[in-house]
Amino acid sequence: MASLRCFLRSGKNAVSAVLRREFHRTPPAAVQVTVRDALNQAMDEELERDERVFLLGEEVAQYDGAYKVSRGLWKKYGDKRIIDTPITEMGFAGIAVGAAMAGLRPICEFMTFNFSMQAIDQVINSAAKTYYMSAGFQPVPIVFRGPNGASAGVAAQHSQCFAAWYGHCPGLKVVSPWSAEDAKGLLKAAIRDDNPVVVLENELMYGVPFEISEQAQSKDFVIPIGKAKIERQGNHITLVSHSRMVGLCLDAAAVLAKEGIECEVVNMRTIRPLDAEAIETSVMKTNHLITVEGGWPQFGVGAEILARLMEGPAFNYLDAPAVRVTGVDIPMPYAKILEDNSVPQIKDIIFSVKKTLNV
């Protein structure tokens, strides 16, 4: 079986991949796809596959999507399947949940997850908890998706990361794709899942192209929810992150490799259920851990990972305290110089690695 390993740094130069030769096989045709197009394909394929699937949200239909993620879908599927809503999140999220309860499979788009705060009661109390409260009688097969976290220059009310908030709640699945392949596979998996799934996309990643494998081009390609991926192997230290920060970790790893420090980069892919096993296995190999996230430190994704590590088998393998690299604990400022210094940069990761390894 040919294996294809792609090393991609924020969509820049693809490092060459090595294939094991099989005499009767030609190299798989890899294709460049942006994250936006991958999400678009995922929705297109699932809309085609199952007529109970429909998309609703602000500007998703005639405007082609505020960030053009749903481009062309309204033209193809029409008013019944692609619905423009008024600017009323609490209302349309509730409507989406109700539709899911009655047998449909809605994709509810929040223009950004900041606006989901207006509707969060419907996501948590109406969607996440209902299957439990009904003792298995009433499932809610719904997907909530949209861009999450910091963008560029959009200031405090439009830059929050909700991974920790949604990741906190039982009854919800929460995924956070990084690459185009992640985006496609996880969104398809989310739509096929019979449970409420929150898909945290990232606006800054939408335009980034990635090579996706032939396997990923298939209409049945799904990535299992709850499984992390090792993006880069290494022996000295484990870097765990999700979404855009995975790219930064890979960039930092490339710089550190020149100094002989080999980082293992783990792409979480799923926030909840958290793949603690993958992280523990890695830490038991490298003996050092750093988590990297865009969100705030207190009660964040990194905090949970570090806690699990303390409580699990990998604790005894740590040679240094595990550490979190996070956004600065402030509302997001507007001015560029302040904003740039409010989120982790590559140098912060490198600094933390060296401090942890004591080099």
Partner: protein, 400 residues
């Protein structure tokens, strides 16, 4: 003798400028004025469109008196707002302004008319299309533009940006659609509580008009008779969605149900002023809230990332510009009633251009905020705080 002649010559020259001297040929300065200052009409009466009323027996007056001084002031304010927004457009395209930028050009008569109908001690809150209101509520063009460019001289020290500018009795600048409406009702509650006969003008758009929290605010404001003027600026589109596609009822002035309402031509600054005065009197008398719908139009798209022509035609935009532009309408009224001269208006335009250009200069040359300011302003009146940076070894300082 020589001095006196100079003084007289200067006085005549200055007078000629004010009196709108008709030049014999381009470029020559003519001291003898064709019209004298005394010839201009100091005030005139104007008809305004009758408002559509909801649960009101009578509405604002259909006639209003405009003085020359008022007219020039409204003109100057609207024109400054216009030029400021166009300059912001330019700077955004040069990537000197980044992030979100929602421009107000076309809607100037709303902000200026409202301000003319209330007192500086009254309160106002709006959504994210806020640059115009920031100006009418007293913030200088310099401080607005420097905030857009994210510099330390900005009204929020560069930390807020386009949607988060504040001033005394002006509560922003709010990024979340509709959230400002309960806030405005709350300001009105404080006004009532403090007994100073002040009112709060609470603005929202046609897109926000369907938000549940607005109806919650209507209910409490009416129940408790809060001195709140709810104003819906209906510019026909909520981002890319026309009013017909978003609202089951587009009679926004009636959507307050038990709250009386009026629908006003938002392109006529005098109409807006009269309606606002009417509404403010109503609220101040303790009768409770009132709702105003201003029918207006934005020339730009929803924001700088929206070209604004995928959901409406260029012909429509052009039609509004040529037939209903608020600044042109005021200018034409004043000129045709001999309340101002073309020369004078041109001079004002030139002054404003210079002022806005200078503000843009300031906004582009002012330095960015200092890194020491990164963590400040988390809490008010609190002891200095330690804030975690991007890693546990980075301990930053936060002052109130």
């Amino acid at each position: 003798m020589q001095n006196m002649l100079t003084v007289i010559a200067n006085a005549l020259k200055g007078g000629a400028k004010m009196n709108g001297a008709q030049t014999v040929s381009e470029g020559t300065r003519v001291v003898v004025s064709a019209r004298s200052f005394a010839d201009l009409t100091p005030q005139a009466s104007f008809d305004i469109k009758r408002c559509d009323l909801h649960r009101l027996d009578e509405g604002p007056s259909v006639q209003t008196v405009l003085t020359r001084e008022e007219g020039l002031r409204y003109y100057r304010t609207m024109q400054t707002m216009r030029r400021m927004e166009l300059k912001a457009d330019q700077l955004y395209k040069q990537k000197i302004i980044r992030g979100f930028c929602h421009l107000y050009d076309g809607q100037e008569a709303c902000a200026v008319g409202i301000e003319a109908g209330i007192n500086p001690t009254d309160h106002l809150i709006t959504a994210y299309r806020a640059h115009g209101y920031t100006y009418t509520r007293g913030v200088s063009v310099n401080k607005i533009m420097a905030e857009l460019t994210g510099r330390r001289g900005g009204v929020a020290k560069g930390k807020g940006g386009s949607m988060h500018m504040y001033a005394k009795n002006f509560y922003g600048g709010n990024g979340i659609v509709g959230a400002q409406v309960p806030l405005g009702a709350g300001v009105a509650l404080a006004c009532q509580y403090q007994g100073k006969k002040e009112v709060c003008v609470t603005l929202y758009g046609d897109g926000a008009a369907n938000q549940g929290q607005i109806f919650e605010s209507f209910n409490m404001a009416a129940l408790w008779k809060l001195p709140c003027i709810f104003i819906c600026e209906n510019n026909k589109y909520g981002m890319g969605t026309s009013v017909e596609r978003a609202s089951a009822s587009t009679d926004y002035y009636k959507r307050g149900d038990y709250i009386p309402g009026l629908r006003v031509d938002g392109m006529d600054v005098l109409g807006v002023r009269e309606a606002t005065k009417f509404a403010a009197d109503y609220c101040r008398s303790g009768k409770g809230p009132i709702l105003m719908e201003l029918q207006t139009y934005r020339y730009h798209g929803h924001s700088m990332s929206d070209p604004g022509v995928s959901y409406r035609t260029r012909e429509e935009i052009q039609e509004v510009r040529s037939k209903s532009d608020p600044i042109t309408m005021l200018k034409d009224r004043m000129i045709s009633n001999n309340m101002a001269s073309l020369e004078e208006i041109k001079d004002i335009d030139a002054e404003i251009r210079k002022e806005v250009e200078a503000a843009a200069q300031f906004a582009t040359s002012d330095p960015e905020p200092p890194m020491e300011d990164l963590c400040n302003h988390i809490f008010h009146n609190d002891a200095p705080l330690e804030v975690r940076g991007t890693n546990p070894w980075m301990r930053l300082k936060s002052l109130s």
